[in-house]
Amino acid sequence: MTIKLALAGNPNSGKTTLFNGLTGNNQFVGNWPGVTVEKKDGKLKGHKDVIIQDLPGIYSLSPYTLEEVVARTYLIEDRPDAILNIVDGTNLERNLYLTTQLVELGIPVVVAVNMMDIIRKNGDKINTEELSRALGCKVVEISALKGTGIKEAAEEAINAAKNMKTVPQHTFSGPVEHAIAHIEEAIVHEMPEEQQRWYAIKVFERDSKVLKQLNISQEKLNHVEKDIQAAEKELDDDSESIITNERYNYIASIIKGCYKRKRTNNLSTSDKIDKVVTNRWLGLPIFVLVMYLVYWIAMVGVGTASTDWANDGLFGDGYHLFGMGSKAYEAASEEYGNATNAAMAYYDFDIEDEKFDAKTAISDMKKVQGPLKSTVGVTDEETLAVDKKNVYYDKIPDSAKKDENTIQMTYMEAVKYFEKNGFEEPDPANYGTWVPGVPPIVEAGLDKLHAADWLKGLILDGIVAGVGAVLGFVPQMLVLFLLLAFLEACGYMARIAFVLDRIFRKFGLSGKSFIPVLVGTGCGVPGVMACRTIENERDRRMTIMTTTFIPCGAKVPFIAMVAGAIFGGSPHIATSAYFLGMAAIIVSGVMLKKTKMFAGKPAPFVMELPPYHWPTVGNVLRSMWERGWSFIKKAGTIILLSTIFVWFTSFFGVVDGSFRMLAEDEINMSLLAKLGGLIAWIFAPLGWGNWQATVASITGLVAKENIVGTMGILYGGGDGGVYHSISQAFTHVTGYSFLAFNLLCAPCFAAIGAIKREMNSAKWTWFAIGYQCGFAYVIAFMITQFGNFFTGKGNIIGFAAAVIALVYMIYMLFIKKYSDANELGDDFAINARAEAK
């Protein structure tokens, strides 16, 4: 027979450490059904038939917070065989408050008093025998951190599950017990005896969830309501508060008998740290510094290096092992690039042309007697911008030696370079220790098997690229999760909320929403995953939905392209993109809070600030790994499938009546182009309803930087280059509208996968994507319509519609009131009270 043990306790009581200690690597991590709360269970080490269910960290069993409802629903409905309740011995009073509620459930309880090592070190004493007598259950001493006593605690819990009963020893005051006795008799007497007391107390408290579950007739309800009101009148408080008060009074009385504290007035180390860290004046600067460090390490330092390695190395051409040879290769590559550009300024050549011959080229080049100075157009690979650079024929004047706009190699030197080295581009494999990436290895294998082109394409550009898209994010994510786990475990995360609450609650977000948004400026995928640290579910969902509005690293080349091609390289475009992103987050935060989906008063911000402590390496690493792995598992499929879909539609199409695979520059004949043509009318009101822009937006879903590449193909080929063609296709107004739409609409598939993972619900994922696209559409629509109107090209219907949209937004932002309905609902209890009166 399998024994189910539930592990319950306050947040910060050492529950995670105990759970890890008891189960080791036999853990399963998921979510509680339908909610974003994490669920963990695992097998007890050395016992095949004992399952430990980790409950969310909670302070009470009230019906008001999601974690508490999840925990108590499990306890009531799944009825585990025993509860192992971990309490923090250094904070006994508040921790035992939960214990007094757990012992009433009629499930055997074993209390494990944690941090005994610290208690002994402080010279304090806990009389566990006395405590055990007062609570009516077994009490054991443990130190989860050191691993002492935890096996014994688990054994006691198994023992209790097999043959023990927990009978609560605590009685409430006379009037309360009187009412409870009446409730037991009138309403819950048909229930199993050990469950009656818990239900009766909940009915006394007018607990909305329990009243709903029991479905009591109005007549009976009115009957017991009289008793409840009598007790309330006598004790001059509402029933819920009476119970809470009496529990704490009871705890205070038992603590007197079993807890001896050696009084010291010295500040603890944690107090000293806190004095500095959340100091009135130093608090904010320290916060900025910590955030800067997190951002730098996760996004710039280690993060970028690891992502580049994963994307360009492991899932690209390859990489130099430990960077050996990278520098030499880069130098050689730069020299080659300079030589090419310098030569191009005077002599046009194309080494990919079949007719190209190195010998004739060199001899032709030598014949060129150019002017002393010429120019060449250099294309930036990321943004496709073309910069004019100066090239000198045989001598660079001193004044131009450090000039960025001058190629630091003369034409004559370039000719010599090609004569000596040939026209071949330097191969990274010839420098240092080169490890080929996955695609070249797979490609070589497929070539050996003489695989068909379409199969090669499917495997390389579809599957391998898709897997790369999933795994490419993982290294950076692991670095970030490591930092977040550290901040959470050491206690600073709670202080972030403390420091920032004042600003963020104005937008209906938690102070902890800052981190996802900050991380989102680097990459939205870890940004969305970082939402896990937000404790309130509503805030968490809201932040998941809005984090990707902020321009991420992959959107930067696209922004630069729009700025360069349409706005003459104005730096204000990039700045405005960040402001647009931030404004979108704030506006959405305020508007969404007023919708039905997020209805209800903001959660009370009554939060424990746990003492600072040094986290254990094992816990931090485990948390990092769990989050990274769950991204791969839960987000991987959707990313892979959608990458394959977009690959297929963009590389296949009907040409001259026959369906075939296309080359990269034939995307205009692809299925995707057809699809784009079919849906382009949707974007007509935004001013760019052509299939090119539509297709570019769709390929942006694979990865936002793809928009640049697609635009390059679709707008290339004309005279004057890509930028010129784009500037012909867009006006300033429609260009900015196109930019705004692509910044705000659904993020890339990887981020969508992360949203799905974190939302843990198809409905919420679709709602998030739908909201993002809808919001992006409305904003882009307003930009186009107002922009056209004020530049004299407007159309009156569109303008009117845009005004309506604007008015509606203003109404949502400033006039509409927060709805009062409470999601977890206490309306039933209020009705019942009104009836009885």
Partner: protein, 74 residues
């Protein structure tokens, strides 16, 4: 007097908690009940919320919610 008006560094005793519903329950669940000693430890850098020491641990609470807690000086 309500808790919101207590100066930093003062210790007071809780007299009554007004209001109802989730916020009141949460405040009480965290241990702010009638007769409890509350030490007002500090205020956040931006002036809200405040940090209390209660029942031997640190709790932060918004000023708006602290208005619901009636206290008296010792």
């Amino acid at each position: 007097m309500v808790l919101k008006d207590v100066k930093i560094g003062q210790t007071v005793i809780v007299k009554k908690i007004t209001g109802q519903g989730p916020v009141k329950r949460r405040i009480m669940d965290m241990g702010i009940t009638k007769g409890t000693e509350v030490y007002v430890r500090k205020v956040a850098p931006l002036g809200d919320p405040i940090e209390l020491t209660i029942r031997g641990y640190e709790l932060s609470i918004r000023k708006a919610d602290a208005e619901m807690i009636e206290v008296e000086e010792i």
